[in-house]
Symmetry: C2
Subunit: 238 residues, 2 copies
DNA sequence: AGTAAATATGTACTTACGACACATTAATTT
DNA sequence: AAATTAATGTGTCGTAAGTACATATTTACT
C-alpha cells in the first residue's frame, strides 16, 4: 500500500469513527388503549416544522445510561404516569431518510394500557387518543411503525393473554368480544368466541354481574393471576 | 430557576447531547446452515481479549450511510460471498454492559444459507460452522442472541417456507424431514410429516429420483418459484 | 438369489373450527 | 302488571386438520 493510500485510509478511518458515533438511537412507543369499542393510540402533535399539522408517536432519544426498555418506560411514565405496563419490542427502523434532522435509528415498542386508569398528565400538551382506524398519515415513518405494531398485536391476540391490559380488571364476555373485534377489525360469532376463550382457560368466573347496563347484565370475569402479563415481555426461549 | 441551576442544566445538556451520540449501533447476523443432519451456525473467534477463546457471531458497526439491512448484507457478503440470502430482523439488544469497550446497541438478524453453495471466503480466518446444539457459551451476549434467533426460526418453520434456503434446489422428502427434525430438535412421524407438507402446497414433484444414496432412492422435489423467499423479509402488513 | 434398509401409502380416532337457532333473563315501555 | 325489547347463555352437526399406527414395495448390497 502506498504512502498516500495509507494517509487516505487513516483519514477515512478517522472520519468513519466519528460518524459511527453520529447516529442517534431512540425508542418509539405505540401506546394502545381501548374506549367506546374502538382501539386507540396515544399521539402527540409533531413539534417539527417539516411535519407541522401531523401527529407522531411518543418517543425519545435513548440516554447513555439506560437500556432500551428503561427508555421506553421513561417515555411511558412521563406521558401516562403509569408504571407496570405491558411492553413488547417489535422492530427496529433504521432507514437513512427517516428523520429530517439527522441519522436516527429507532426501536419500536407497543404497550397496552387501560385508558380509564391513566390520568393524562398532559392535557395542556397536544396529547390525545386517536382511533387507530382513522389514522391516515403520521410524521416521520410513524405510520409504518404503527402498522407494524398493530400487525404484531393481531398476531398475539389469539395465542397470548395480552389484551386484558386494555380492559378493567372485571369485564364481561361481551366487552371482551367487542375488544377482539376492534383489534381484529372483524365480526366474531358469539358462541364460537366464547368456546374459544373458554378453552384457553385464561379466565375466572367472578360470580358477579354487570350493572348499570341498559339490558340483561352478563357475568363478570377476570384474568387469572398466573396469566397476568405486566412489565416488559419476557423472552421465552425454547 | 436559579442561575446556578441554569448553568448546571446547560452543562448537563451539553454532556448529554454528546453522550447521545456516544452510542454505537451494530448488526449481528446469526447465519444458519445445515449439514450432516445438523443445524449449524457460522461463528468467528472473538478478537477481544475479554473473550479470548470464545466464539462470537458475525457483526459490524452500522455505517452512517447505510441502513440496517445494508449493513447486514455487507456482513454476509464479506463473510460468505453470498448475495441473495434470506434475512430477517429478530430483535434489538441494548443492555448497558453488553460490550466491554463501550455502549453498543445491536440489531440481530438471522439468515439461512445453503452451506454447499458458499465458498468460505476466509479459511485463513477463524471462521467455522458450529453445531447449534453444541454451543454452550459465546462472547458478549451472543448466546442469548443465538437462542432468540433459533426460537424465531422454530416459530416460522411450520408456517412459512423459509427453511428451503438451507437446502439445495432439489431435495427428497427425507432430507426435508431430517432438516425439520434438526431445527425443531424432535422426531417426526414420516407419514404425518409428508401429509402436512403436502397440504401446504409449497413443493413441486420433479419426477426425478435421488441417486448416489446407499438405499432405495426417493423422489426429488423443489420449492415452487412463487414461494421463494430470498432477500430481506418483506413486512406483510394487515 | 436373498437380505437389509429405506420409500411410499391409508385408515381410524380424536380434536379443533365454523355455521347456525332457541330459550332465558332483566330492563324498559305501555 | 303485562307486554316488549334486547341482550345473555348454551349445544349440535358437519368439516377440516392432527395423531397414532402397519404393511407392501423398491433398490442396493452381499
Amino acid at each position: 500500500m502506498s504512502k498516500e493510500q495509507n494517509l487516505k485510509t487513516a483519514a477515512l478511518e478517522k472520519i468513519s469513527h466519528l460518524d459511527y458515533f453520529n447516529i442517534a438511537i431512540s425508542v418509539d412507543c405505540v401506546i394502545f388503549g381501548y374506549d367506546n369499542k374502538e382501539l386507540k393510540v396515544l399521539l402527540i402533535k409533531s413539534d417539527l416544522e417539516e411535519f407541522s399539522g401531523l401527529y407522531s408517536l411518543l418517543g425519545d432519544l435513548v440516554r447513555p445510561d439506560e437500556d432500551l426498555e428503561s427508555a421506553s418506560y421513561r417515555v411511558l411514565r412521563d406521558r401516562t404516569g403509569m408504571e407496570d405496563v405491558y411492553l413488547e419490542q417489535v422492530h427496529t427502523f433504521g432507514g437513512l431518510g427517516r428523520h429530517p434532522s439527522g441519522r436516527v435509528i429507532t426501536t419500536a415498542y407497543y404497550s397496552l394500557i387501560d385508558i380509564k386508569h391513566h390520568k393524562l398528565k398532559l392535557n395542556h400538551n397536544d396529547l390525545h387518543w386517536h382511533s387507530v382506524n382513522d389514522i391516515k398519515e403520521l410524521a416521520f415513518d410513524h405510520k409504518t411503525i404503527l402498522d407494524t405494531c398493530l400487525c404484531r398485536l393481531r398476531e398475539q391476540v389469539m395465542d397470548h393473554p395480552v389484551v386484558f391490559n386494555l380492559l378493567p380488571e372485571k369485564f364481561s364476555l361481551r366487552e371482551l368480544q367487542d375488544l377482539y373485534q376492534s383489534i381484529l377489525d372483524t365480526d366474531l360469532d358469539r358462541r364460537n368466541f366464547r368456546k374459544k376463550i373458554a378453552i384457553k382457560g385464561w379466565l375466572v368466573d367472578l360470580n358477579e354481574m354487570e350493572n348499570n347496563v341498559p339490558h340483561r347484565p352478563g357475568k363478570l370475569y377476570a384474568l387469572k393471576k398466573q396469566h397476568h402479563r405486566k412489565g416488559p415481555k419476557t423472552l421465552v426461549l425454547e
